[in-house]
Symmetry: C2
Subunit: 247 residues, 2 copies
């Protein structure tokens, strides 16, 4: 069933009104009629099946029928931070990372970033990425729309208070270090916050990794193969899902 996010609290067994883009999609794209249903995520992250009671040219009135109980959110609040990647890879990371359960994305310039986000374009880029996160959250049946933000530097990023801070470091993988990620994930408890940092195409500089380790980040390898900048976050999110949701 199609899923939409609304920016108000839905009350069970009461009616609510859908307008704007949700209305357009529901009626123009899905061609929904009176008595048809869709899923609506309330601003408190609860999901209701809404049945259309009435339609005008610009709004739909729905009745909130049953609430869906399924737990679809990753049990950890994971932030994926990436050194600015090239081309459309930021879009790719946000789309796939949303499907795989990330709660926040942060992009930041690092030493080996070839891509630049000029100051006057940051807002436009974030807007576009936020829209991708929104669509992917609907499509993958999330109850949270991940946030997308920009950090000016590594210094800004590492100040964020987080319970777990990890950095994916290619050299760790090359040295056959494959157990640390597992160890870290095993320590994580439900609702913990996790910040995971990934380098851009050229990786992170040794000096950056040193700064990060001094700030409490744990260097982890992501298996024995060299993963591209945009694949590494997906591996990490899958690993967290596998250990925390699959057993």
């Amino acid at each position: 069933m199609q899923r939409y996010f609304v920016d108000f609290e839905i009350q069970p067994h009461e009616t609510f009104t859908v307008t704007g883009q949700n209305f357009q999609h529901l009626v123009r794209v899905m061609r929904a009629k009176v008595n048809d249903c869709a899923e609506f995520v309330s601003s408190d992250h609860l999901v209701y099946v809404g049945r259309i009671q009435a339609l005008t040219t610009h709004e739909a009135v729905l009745l909130a029928e049953n609430r869906l109980e399924a737990q679809v959110e990753l049990p950890l609040e994971v932030t994926i931070a990436c050194g600015l990647p090239k081309g459309d890879k930021a879009e790719f990371i946000v789309q796939k990372g949303t499907e795989l359960g990330a709660r926040h994305f942060t992009f930041l310039p690092t030493q080996f970033s070839v891509a630049k986000w000029p100051a006057n374009k940051v807002d436009r880029k974030l807007d576009r990425l936020q829209k991708i996160a929104h669509a992917a959250a609907e499509q993958s049946h999330r109850t949270f729309i991940p946030t997308v933000s920009y950090a000016n530097s590594l210094k800004t990023l590492i100040k964020q208070p987080m319970q777990f801070k990890i950095v994916a470091y290619e050299e760790s993988a090359k040295q056959g270090e494959h157990t640390k990620l597992h160890q870290e994930i095993m320590k994580m408890q439900t609702a913990n916050s996790v910040l995971a940092l990934f380098g851009p195409e050229g990786g992170l500089a040794g000096q950056e990794v040193q700064t990060l380790e001094e700030a409490g980040f744990v260097s982890v390898g992501l298996g024995p193969r060299i993963l591209r900048a945009e694949t590494a976050p997906l591996y990490l999110l899958s690993a967290i899902s596998v250990f925390k949701e699959m057993r």
Copy 2:
């Protein structure tokens, strides 16, 4: 270090000659000079560091120095089979799936496939996908180049002898079934063959899943979120890596 696949057996401490596209890349793109090194994967899947001894206009003579011992291949022989996906998603699946350790890819028409591969274009499509697998195998430092093939139908596919056969089925995920994949992976032993089938954008038909189950396929869910057709194989490969390579 740049990695190349050669189609002959390299002998340790002996010289070997590189021509064609590998030569072009080594000398024109990487601008390698006499005494520079690169990694070469021998046809027996062993990896040697080769040092350039001499260069002409069309070939490089190298000495096979030390052999690299790192185990980079997934310990299982995994075939990813996908209902024909739309657009460039087959390319995406092959590129990312190669990074994540798949050994074979098979594409096949299924009931809900919107995309079609006309008979006269199959070879060209496979050629292109095989090139993507080759480049991704070099880039991710694999010692096998995954194969890419086309199957005419589900019937052809399910005849393949495999030790494990699984099918990713969205309904399993929706029903909160998250343990079967874990159970199946735990049964897999080193060098076992695994065939994992994924539907196209519209998923698999209930009848197809029934046919598959009758042929010994196990239906598994891939966590609680709905994954896109091209994301699901990456989750599966990551899950196998996490359980078999990370601990």
